[in-house]
Symmetry: C2
Subunit: 416 residues, 2 copies
């Protein structure tokens, strides 16, 4: 069995579409996070194209950096996939049909897809005879576990759902049997309303006196900053990390949203569920993004009733009962309108809280008195309605993301 | 000036939070896409942590693979950032205060942030005297352009908005002055309703007779498959690529959504704008995601009026006029309900088309007669309402994404 400190992993993703950015790689981030949680030391993540020499070189190089090399992608049924023949050659094998994988392909096509089975699909069950096959219950391409010069190489398909199934069921458990790792402990909190450098100023003395086994990281995201403490070595007990985390919470208490590694929307969800309150949301400029963030949380129907995406003025009136005179006098992007939207959606939905946004996300839509990036937010409850405005200076996508984050933070502060 | 074929690029991203997957890296995908469009050959993308030895090794190694090495991340004002001192040492420099960068930091703090300026922020204007400074108009950390052993190294901050500004304004134009590149031509079309392997079967003969300078790639995504033809060498004229693309379109015509490299929602937007029609959307299971996809498109208010996220049955009735008896008899996830939702949202918004979704995205909510992953979609217009159902078998996130894609595709087919 290898020792804990040496259980290092490199991740190689294969595919032109990933390399040139036509597809964003979410696989290797997910893999890294799961492996990190399990206690492995992620050394590098490398993306290469569908090119024989580049893949071969990556296998050679990454085996110099890490003990375990995980590979995803390049295993599809189409002819732009060269990974399997390459692995066969790299590990000196011959392609043979694997019976269990063959049966799996037949099952998937007959039971699940109800499509005729092509020879091309059956060839997915061919694997080098120098690997241990990892069966793929979620798709047709099996995984392959190779060993060479004391290094472990594991190849998985690039379809996230299939890769995740293999990682959870076979790969991580298999690696844990081989390596004596100890999970790295993290403690994370989320702050809002303070910049990274101001937090750092507040924490100069805290950082100076940190034990060398504990590392503090600043993770800024959408105008919020997460602070993460990591216990890097097990020579220090976890209780010291806990104590240090309590100190940290005290130092940033006025800006702390939540003392867990959860998203802002999850923090809002927890608060609403624990207090038994419900929420409805009326979105103009955020265009459904707040609703999407909330409804991505499993079980969100326990507190989220729904709402409106009131892009047109007509819908603001018909669905949310904003007054025509308010729109005429103050415009759609105004304190007056957003307050009526929040009150309207709360009453129509019969919710405890109504949240509303209206703004100008760009690239066009500015007026002489209203700049691009202006956001109005209102939060309404039985005890009254409060509102505020923000001014962002980014592009449409980032303005929408920042608007949603600031609206959720404003809601959270106003949940009694 | 270097020759076109040799203008190869490696991208290094620095940061523990990226390496261990706490933050998904979208920077290097965007950079790769822009550089690819400009004609550069992306060789590799590598992620490493905030660790001196790992960054140093990555600089050494990537300069073996490529002529240009782009680096993002690790330039923030907090003490977990070690990139700048490392670059200073790697390129044998001394840190000096850059006047223009200093002025920029002062400007940003006084004019834009209206916050007191800390020495920590001013230190962001310190750069190695062996680089050419790239000014950052969007943030406080300047970019740095180094050259060593005939290789170009460019370091940029990890904040996407800042990196994008530098890439567009300085880095790509600067590289284009140095390299005589010729843009790789791509032609891409989007198909729906056919699997990757079936497309490949249809295209066996087409692929067999492709000129060797043209490459076909299959890019599956959310139940759709994009087909991309790339002209790899300029020995063949672009007109041959055009002709080949026309052949390809004819071969897959029955499954083709659009013959451009745009998203499904952009195809829907183009169609609605060109026909002068408007759309309203009522979402239950997709929870605002369709609205978000549409409203992320600049100018979407030209055709999108808005709609409802009718999570609760109460809102389905009050906002969309779904009949209580329909909900009681058939349930919220049913053909009858989704048709009334589509009609209701169309009439309430005064739109030409109404699109509605209702389904069970998981992880809970299945009934004896309705499985997890069931989706009902309806599309309503003055000429009537049509509906259909799908059955997905994935996790909540992917079920929502697939539901939105299939609903948009169903809408598109039904736009007269």
């Amino acid at each position: 069995m290898h020792s804990g400190a040496a259980s290092s992993v490199s991740i190689i993703t294969i595919g032109d579409e990933l390399l040139i950015g036509q597809t964003v790689d979410t696989n290797s981030a997910w893999m890294a996070m799961e492996l990190n949680k399990a206690g492995f030391n992620i050394k590098r993540r490398v993306a290469v194209g569908d090119e024989w020499k580049a893949i071969w070189a990556a296998l050679d190089e990454e085996s110099q950096h890490a003990e375990v090399i995980l590979i995803t992608g390049g295993l599809g049924p189409t002819s732009d996939d060269i990974t399997k023949p390459l692995l066969c050659s790299y590990f000196n094998g011959t392609l043979v049909r694997n019976e269990a994988a063959h049966q799996n392909v037949v099952d998937i096509f007959t039971r699940r897809l109800n499509r005729p089975l092509l020879e091309r699909n059956l060839r997915q069950a061919d694997v080098p005879d120098t690997c241990v096959v990892i069966q793929n219950k979620r798709g047709t391409a099996p995984g392959m576990w190779f060993e060479k010069n004391e290094k472990i190489f594991i190849s998985m398909p690039g379809v996230p759902f299939e890769m995740k199934g293999m990682m959870t069921k076979d790969v991580i458990p298999g690696l844990l049997k081989r390596f004596n790792v100890q999970a790295v402990e993290h403690r994370t909190l989320l702050t809002a309303g303070i910049g990274e450098s101001f937090l750092a100023e507040k924490l100069v003395e805290f950082e100076r006196t940190l034990p060398k086994e504990i590392k503090l990281a600043y993770l800024p995201n959408y105008g919020m900053v997460r602070l993460r403490l990591s216990l890097l070595q097990t020579t220090l007990p976890v209780s010291v990390l806990e104590e240090t985390f309590i100190q940290l919470q005290a130092l940033v208490s006025e800006f702390m949203v939540v003392n867990k590694d959860i998203t802002l929307q999850e923090a809002v969800a927890e608060l609403l569920i624990s207090t038994g309150k419900t929420l409805a949301v009326a979105e103009s400029c955020t265009g459904g993004y707040i609703a999407h963030l909330i409804t991505s949380i499993p079980g969100s129907s326990a507190f989220y009733l729904g709402g409106a995406v009131s892009y047109s003025n007509h819908l603001k009136q018909s669905m949310l009962h904003v007054e025509a005179s308010t729109l005429a006098e103050h415009g759609a992007v105004s304190d007056e309108t957003v307050r009526q939207m929040a009150e309207g959606v709360r009453l129509v939905a019969g919710a405890d809280y109504g949240l509303a946004t209206s703004g100008i996300m760009g690239p066009t839509g500015a007026t002489p008195t209203k700049d691009l990036g202006l956001l109005w937010v209102a939060c309404s409850s039985a005890s009254g309605t409060v509102s505020t405005s923000f001014q962002f200076r980014f592009d449409r996508k980032r303005n929408i993301e920042l608007s949603a984050a600031h609206a959720l933070h404003f809601l959270r502060k106003n949940i009694g």
